[in-house]
């Protein structure tokens, strides 16, 4: 009979975070907190709403208009949503990067992003629980059967 005690010990300790895991988590929270502090400060110093835009309000407006219930859109709305989208990209990227780092990688991959989506409550809208993407046009980003994880394995390998 195999001696599985080491393996099972490792498995049972997975239920309790190790000290280094707690530190990683703490570091993550600190980085996110710093991110938001920086953003709030930056908002105080905005002087130009036309030339510094990283995302074009006209494109944002087009996406808004795909919703048939939307009627009139105030000029400020696409500008504001452009900024919101910027924050969204930055926060999700930061979280995904922290995920990549935990897996000792310096390249941010799709799996990092999908991992974060699965772990973060307010990103539920990105999970498609109707995984019927046969025509390639998934309405949401992460099919319900989930990604294969970011541990280097192929995303479709569910045997781990």
């Amino acid at each position: 009979m195999e001696n599985n005690s080491e393996k099972s010990a490792a498995q049972s300790s997975a239920a309790y975070p190790t000290l280094s895991q707690l530190n990683v988590e703490k570091n993550k929270q600190e980085q996110l907190k710093m991110f938001w502090t920086d953003q709030r400060r930056e908002m105080e110093n905005v002087n130009d709403f036309k030339n510094n835009l990283l995302l074009q309000p006209t494109r944002i407006k087009k996406i808004m208009k795909t919703d048939k219930d939307v009627q009139m859109i105030a000029a400020e709305s696409p500008v504001l949503l452009a900024k919101a989208s910027e924050l969204f990209i930055q926060e999700l990227t930061l979280r995904s990067w922290l995920n990549a780092q935990e897996n000792h990688r310096r390249i941010l991959k799709k799996d990092d992003v999908t991992d974060v989506i699965m772990q973060t409550d307010n990103l539920d809208f990105l999970v498609d629980d109707d995984a019927n993407a046969t025509d390639g046009s998934t309405p949401s980003v992460v099919p319900f059967y989930g990604s294969g994880g970011s541990n280097g394995q192929d995303g479709n390998n569910l045997d781990h």
Binding site: F49, R59, S77, K83
Partner: protein
Amino acid sequence: MVDSNNILGSFDSSEEGGFKEHDRLLPIANVGRIMKHILPQNAKISKEGKETMQECVSEFISFVTGEASEKCHKEKRKTLNGDDICWAMGNLGFDDYVEPLKRYLHRYRELEGEKANQNKVDIGNKNEEREKNEFLLGRFYGP
């Protein structure tokens, strides 16, 4: 109720036909640039990673817009404004976003409001001149 003069353009719903599929996504170059901005210099991003982010942002925009639009509808308002968006963000669990966005919106209204007022003053002056002239002429040649 007449909406405020924040409606600088006529964003009505008579959209031009032929909505292209690629218009659904924001340009990958722009998305990639924003991603790189927040990462250390030695970081790399896979192409699939950028594409995934592109999809996520478009979903995000639609998600927030839908929520804001529902609020307008409930309150019988036709125009989706910045306050609706801030409210929607808070309601959808993006609490961290609310304060920075409110400040951003406030700055926008301040600066754009100044510009609009300046325009109004210029146009107002011209209108005043014209009205005065018409009035004077009208007194002589009235109906």
